[in-house]
């Protein structure tokens, strides 16, 4: 279950994989989403081209209405595209969804209040027809990984917002999806909790090398977490710039005070400003 290449800790120089040669996990070609509004059609997403390779941590950043959430929802088969093509693991989004290719974390934890924490994490596994004892073992392990061992018997309302969101991450990871999609998962949390969860998520990604597609409107969050940052702009929703991060894969929160971090944040900020004209 653990990725074999947990070596490389503390060195931080050589990447443990080479994104340029990895298989593409998500491919979008001239993908557009157009809503029919009352007076004129709204271009939520306009001719987007993007390739996300396996093992990458890609952040979609931009102001409201730039289509970052729409793009994520299109990849997750929660919304249809009007034209173009989107492939997930070389399949259509709906085929990929049916094969349980991805786990999705929403902005709200969306835990079921009638189920305990453990039963919430077990739910997707039960739906996928796994044996009950197996479900429980996996759920316990996933909860331990997000630091919630000992909270299995609690109900969601007994947990803080940050803990609830960690449960929802454990739930999304339980069935070992190749891709993890996150739609502003820490947007509703206070900054201290957010920092802590960012750190945990970064370590989780480093340890398991899953593909992560992450929607955010925080520059610091995007720079800290990503290997690649996709800057988007509204009216019509489009990609303005794709920035490869020069930061090492091994990171901690103190990295945010380094000049490299500041330079990258500045580059993202400039790209966002450019897109606003």
């Amino acid at each position: 279950m653990n990725a074999p290449q947990t070596a490389g800790f503390s060195s931080g120089k050589a990447p443990v994989f080479d994104p340029a040669s990895a298989r593409p996990a998500v491919v979008a070609r001239r993908a557009s989403v157009i809503y029919q509004a009352a007076d004129q059609p709204v271009h939520a997403l306009s001719e987007v081209d993007l390739t996300i390779r396996q093992g990458e941590f890609v952040s979609l950043i931009g102001p409201s209405g730039c289509g970052k959430t729409t793009l994520l929802r299109v990849i997750a088969d929660l919304e249809p595209i009007s034209s173009g093509e989107v492939l997930v693991n070389e399949m259509s989004p709906s085929e990929a969804r049916e094969r349980r290719a991805y786990g999705y974390v929403f902005q709200a934890p969306a835990l079921f209040p009638w189920r305990t924490v453990l039963a919430n994490v077990m739910l997707p596994l039960q739906i996928m027809g796994r044996e009950l004892s197996q479900c429980e073992a996996i759920a316990r392990e996933q909860l331990a990984r997000v630091g919630l061992a000992g909270f299995e018997k609690k109900y969601p309302w007994q947990l803080s917002g940050g803990m609830q969101q960690r449960v929802s991450i454990a739930r999304a990871l339980g069935f070992e999806p190749k891709i993890l999609m996150m739609d502003e998962p820490f947007g509703a949390l206070d900054e201290i909790t957010r920092d802590k969860l960012n750190e945990q998520l970064q370590q989780l990604w480093l340890r398991e090398q899953r593909t992560v597609v992450f929607v955010t409107h925080s520059i610091a969050e995007a720079v800290y977490l990503s290997t690649r940052i996709v800057v988007m702009s509204p009216r019509p929703g489009r990609i303005v710039k794709v920035i490869d991060s020069p930061l090492p894969f091994e990171r901690d929160l103190s990295m945010r005070d380094t000049p490299e971090f500041a330079r990258l944040a500045q580059e993202v900020r400039e790209a966002l400003a450019e897109g606003h004209h």
Binding site: D77, L78, G103, A110, F112, P113, W114, Q158
Partner: protein
């Protein structure tokens, strides 16, 4: 302990005491004429104490005093064996059996209708007006019709009564279940969609648990309505047993005490049945809370 006593027991006791005082005063006022005519005048001269005493101990008072009803209820339970037609527990049991059967039938029918309505837009439009219309027909009118039709089919005894109870029970269940099954948020529906859950899985894992907080208040209404329906159904059948039959024979012979005893028994039964629903609710949703 004393705080709890003051907060819970005292207000209830005060209302009860006030109601009893009012009842006794009403009993004096309503029974006075009859008492004077039938009890006191033949006996000779009388004072006001005699009048009060007489109004509280008449054979067939217009309004029996509470202690008379309590004594009659108690004696019917302890002085006769449980299988005697004079024992009110027997009648309560018969009525409870029909009510519970009708209630279960109503919950099943109501839930099935709700499931159909939630999953099909056509059925939503086709069924809902008829379901609402069905409830605008007074049960007093429809009960004899149902009893006659079922009787002609050879169905007698408990089942016709249960059918009437079902007729009253299913409506609140359907209305609440439709609302409850539609309660899941878009976010929750999308969540189970990302797991590729089937319709049946979505129903049992999400829709049904979401509907329970809507269902239980409706069940309390339904079981009370079912009890009223059963008692109404027992009236025109000339049923041998049941609280409705007891009410009917009481009014037939002008035995007000018997009517009131049966009435109190019916209320006690209603309380017990509602408590049963609450118990079920606690068992199923007791640990579920919102922060």
């Amino acid at each position: 302990m004393t705080a709890k006593f003051r907060q819970h027991f005292l207000p209830v006791a005060t209302v009860l005491a006030a109601a009893l005082v009012l009842w006794y005063l009403l009993a004096i006022w309503l029974n006075a004429a009859g008492a004077i005519e039938r009890v006191l005048t033949p006996r000779g001269p009388w004072g006001w104490q005699d009048l009060v005493g007489a109004t509280f101990s008449m054979q067939r008072p217009v309004l029996p005093a509470p202690h008379q009803i309590a004594l009659d209820l108690w004696s019917s339970i302890v002085d006769y064996p449980i299988d005697s037609p004079r024992n009110l527990l027997l009648h309560a049991g018969v009525t409870a059996g029909a009510t519970l059967t009708g209630f279960l039938m109503g919950v099943v029918l109501g839930s099935l209708l709700a499931i159909c309505i939630v999953h099909s837009r056509t059925l939503d439009r086709a069924l809902m007006p008829w379901i609402v219309a069905s409830q605008s027909v007074p049960v007093l009118a429809i009960a004899p019709i149902v009893l006659i039709i079922l009787g002609s089919l050879g169905i007698t005894g408990m089942l016709p009564k249960a059918t009437i109870a079902m007729y009253l029970c299913f409506f609140p269940v359907t209305v609440a279940m439709v609302q409850g099954l539609r309660a899941p948020q878009r976010l929750e529906m999308e969540l189970v969609h990302t797991w590729s859950a089937s319709r049946i899985q979505t129903f049992f894992m999400l829709r049904l648990p979401s509907s329970l907080p809507f269902l239980f208040p409706a069940l309390r209404v339904a079981i009370a309505a079912g009890l009223a329906g059963t008692i109404v159904a027992e009236l025109p059948t000339g049923a041998q047993a049941g609280l409705g039959a007891r009410l009917l024979t009481g009014s037939y012979y002008g035995n007000t005490l018997q009517i009131w005893s049966a009435l109190i028994m019916a209320s006690l039964l209603g309380v017990a049945l509602t408590a049963l629903v609450s118990l079920l609710e606690y068992g199923l949703t007791g640990r579920r809370k919102q922060a």
